[in-house]
Every structure is written in C-alpha cells, then in structure tokens.
Amino acid sequence: MSSDGAALRAAGALVALMAVAGLAAWSLGVFAAAAPPPDGTSAHEQTVRNKAQDGSVPAAKADLRPSHEVAPSAASSDSAPATLLLPDGSEVPTLNGATGAKPLADVWPKQRPWSPIVGVERSTLGVDWYVHADGTRTTTQMRWRADLGRDDALTRIAEVAPDQPAVPRSK
C-alpha cells in the first residue's frame, strides 16, 4: 500500500474515532470545566505538607529570613528580559545574571498551587535561589550550550520531595 493511501486510511479511522469521542463528550457534557484531582490534593502538595508538619521545611515567611537571605544578584546588560514573570502576574528580577529565561508563569508545575516568594537564599555553591512559602526553590542561570554555540538561560524549579533510603552496598 502506498504511504498516501495508508495515510488516508489512518485519517479516516481517526476521524471516525474522533467523531465517536466528540459525540460522547457532547452527551456527557464533561468538558466545560477542568477535572479536579481525585482528592483535591496533589501528591506534591501532600508531600510538602508532610514536610512542613515534621518541621524539616520552613513553612512560613518568618522561617526563611535569617542568615541565608541575600539580595538578588544583578542581571547582565543583555537586551533579553532580566525579569521573571510569575504565575500571579507580578515580576521579579531574574537571578544569577540570567537573561531571557522562560517565565516562571509558564513552567511552574501544573499540579502545584502557586506559592509566593518569601526570600532569597544563596547556596553553598554561590547560586541564588528564590524561596517560596511552600519550601519550593526557583532560580535562573545562564549556561553554555555547545549545540547553540552560546550561553542560554535556564529556569529551574526544585520542589520538596520526601526522603528516600539509599541502596544497600551489596548491589
């Protein structure tokens, strides 16, 4: 069979399936609103709640202010944006001199409710991170990309996960 013929056959089959699916959706009327999580709480959210409850993650703004707070590092003087659009519509400066980073509004995890920034921490490797009320850290950085032949920005998110044991030595 030629690829054109095969493609037409596939298209026909899929169109028929689409029609069935569309009719079912219409009759059920279930596509007007977003489907909520099964219990209304994402696994991530529950994880963070658990961590906050056992005291291993600061859960309030006041917990985040002491000695780790630093001023955000200045961005380089590139024409690309040196601000970071947040999911709540506000903007903050990018960190670590990054320009052109993807907006946090675009990459904040869909399963996680937005959590506001409550401080800035500098890691032991000198990287500045925004600290969010739920313990999430976010930052921006420039890194060399050989595939592009230039530096390129990253928008980075570190959500709190549970602890997990390391593998036994024998394996």
Binding site: M18, P38, S42, K110, E121, S123, R143, L154
Partner: protein, 365 residues
C-alpha cells in the same frame, strides 16, 4: 540526526505552548501519584563519577519529543536525593546519541545537548533532603527523530555517599528490577529476562547496563504515552493495590508465560499542555518507517504502522492523565510470546477539534 525545515517551524512555535511533560520510564506517574514504587535512591556507578542514562531506543519508543517533522527537548526533570542538604550538589544534564554498537556515544559528536555545572539548592534545615528538579531551557535542543538516543545526568564522585561522616551526595530516585535481587519489595515488575533499559557510563568511559529505572526524563511538549503491565499478583508499585498497573518496564516487557504470570495491559496518556482533552489510543503491528506523516490538524507524526493501524478507544483524563485497560490479565496466550505490538495516543481537544499525538511505545511479549 535529522534536521529539517520543520525544526525552524517547531522552534518558532515553541512560544505558543508553555507547559511541558517529562518523558519518564518508571512504574508510576511522579507528577500525579504519590510515588511508592521507588526502591531506593541510586547513583549510576555507586559513589564514583558517572553518567546515568535511560535508553530511548527505537526498538521501544518512537516520537519522543516529536512535534511534527522535528523533535525537541525543552529541559530535563529528575527526582533527586541529597543526603546533606546543608551543602549543594552539582550535576550535569547530558543527552547522547547511540554509537554503532547501540551504546551511548561518548564522543563529542555524540552529545545532543549538555548543560554543565548545575546544582541542587541547599536547605538550612540540613539532613536528608529530596528535590523534584525541573530545569527548563530557554531554547530547546534538537532530538533525533529516527535514531536511538539516551537521556540522563552526570554526577560527580562523592566519597561521602551514602555512608560518609556526615553522609552526603546527589542521587536519583530509582525502581529496581526483579532480576537485580535487592531486598526491595517495590520497584519495576517486568519479566525476569527483560533487557535492562538504563546505562551507566563510568569515569573511565566503560559501559554498564543497570537493572533499574530512574525518575528522570526529558521535557517534551507532546502528550506522553506509556503501556502499563498488570500483574494481578503483584504489589510492586507499593500503592497498596495488588495488581496496580506498572507503567515502566512492565509495560515494555510483560510476562505472559503462564508460569505463573499472565499479565494484562493498559494504556496511559498524560498531558500538562491539554490536561482536559480526550485521550485517544490506537495500535498497530509495527512501526511506521515511511516518510514523516501527520494527520492535520493534529500536531506530531504518526509513529505506528499505518497499514495495520487500528483505533483502540478513548479515555477521559483526570488532572491530565487518562488510562484505558486493553488486555485483561490471563487473556494473552503464551503462544504470543515473542510478538510485539505498538501503541500511540493523542490528546484530542473537543473545543477546537485539534490535538497532539503522543510518543509511541512497544509492548514486547
């Protein structure tokens, strides 16, 4: 690697879609489920420097990153362990092509994209910490559309892992196979003779095939589809549900030997881009090896054989994930051992009539 005019079109279009999906091979959905199937946190070569890879073999997967004529990586996702959160741990993102032997190509020409000297955050609370890390590129990288490749991380040596004083070091959440024989009661549930799907490239350039999967994967902008293996006697996912579908290696390599397992199958499609679409599934008896074929107005290329393509059904997603049982446990004859069937999905948008095709995956019986 195939670079085409479609690449430019796809790059132009990247500003139109914001959310990404991680392409992860693991028993559970780390974005939407409480992860209970992780056996341990692991490093690819104990506490030595190494690169750890998930193989994206064309024997097993097609269309990962494919947006229609081109395939793009938008970043990388992984679940990290850090035994001492007071100190930051560095790592590199590394995606490689395959060499002539099918191993990761460690030559400079084998690098698809490499981002070095990234690091985990620190936490003043210290102690054993876990981080779900999403690193999003401002500019996507171009992936192979028609060749095997490898997705992974490079971790530096850390003698303090896992039992230094204090213990320290970066590791990745992992799920052990049955054949590795660790005490883990949860993890992967492929049949015992399943081939490994992950690799380590050691500091001296040697290769190890590793008997576990990781929670890590490339960020893509199409729906991701995985096949679940259903073993009614298994509690390997740790969810508390015996027979819970396992979407990593158990779907790639189910056990239908009848001695004693006779696994069932289901299909799962996930999408953060269109979480309220309709998950549509179709299958075929092989891969599509003809020219790149799109079905307009849907994004992405058909990856399964058009001449044997059969619509399977549809399912409604909850929070961006939809599943469809397709084979009841006990119903596949052992006579089918050695057969392969390919599946692909699509997230259909009933509001616009558009949609996006997923990657495709084989189940190798």
């Amino acid at each position: 690697m195939k670079a085409s005019p479609y690449v430019a079109l796809a790059l132009l279009g990247t500003g139109l879609v914001a959310q990404n999906n991680p392409f992860v091979v693991f028993p559970q959905d780390p974005e939407r489920q409480a992860v209970t199937s992780a056996s341990y946190v692991r490093r690819p070569d104990w506490n030595r420097q190494a690169e750890g890879f998930q193989e994206v073999s064309t024997d097993w997967f097609r269309g990962v990153g494919n947006l229609g004529g081109a395939a793009l990586a938008f970043g990388f996702y992984h679940w990290a362990g850090d035994l001492d959160a007071l100190t930051a741990e560095s790592y590199d993102i590394i995606l490689r092509t395959a060499d002539a032997q099918g191993q990761p190509d460690t030559s400079p020409a084998g690098v698809i994209v490499e981002v070095t000297n990234l690091s985990l955050p620190t936490d003043p609370a210290g102690g054993n910490a876990g981080w779900i890390v999403t690193d999003t590129f401002a500019t996507p990288a171009i992936l192979p559309t028609d060749a095997t490749w490898f997705q992974g991380l490079r971790l530096p040596a850390n003698p303090a892992w896992p039992s230094g004083t204090p213990a320290d070091g970066h590791s990745i959440w992992s799920a052990d196979t049955l054949s590795i024989g660790t005490p883990a009661t949860v993890g992967e549930n492929a049949r015992l003779n399943a081939p490994p799907v992950t690799w380590a490239v050691t500091a001296n350039g040697s290769f190890l095939q590793t008997e576990w999967t990781y929670i890590m994967g490339t960020l893509v902008q199409h729906p991701t589809m995985h096949i679940g293996g259903i073993d009614p006697s298994s509690s390997r996912t740790g969810s508390g549900i015996v027979g819970d579908p396992s979407y990593g290696m158990a779907g790639l390599f189910p056990d239908i030997s009848g001695a004693p397992r006779s696994d069932g199958l289901d299909l799962r499609i996930q999408d953060n881009v269109m979480p309220n679409g309709i998950g549509v599934f179709f299958g075929a008896a092989g891969w599509w090896n003809g020219p790149a074929t799109q079905i307009l107005p849907f994004t992405g290329d058909i990856q399964v054989d058009l001449t044997t393509l059969v619509p399977i059904g549809f399912a409604l997603p909850v929070n961006g994930a939809a599943t469809l049982p397709i084979v009841t446990p006990g119903s596949l004859s052992p006579a089918l051992m050695g057969s392969e069937f390919m599946f692909q999905g699509m997230m259909f948008d009933p509001a616009t009539g558009g949609g996006a095709l997923s990657n495709a995956q084989v189940t190798s019986l």
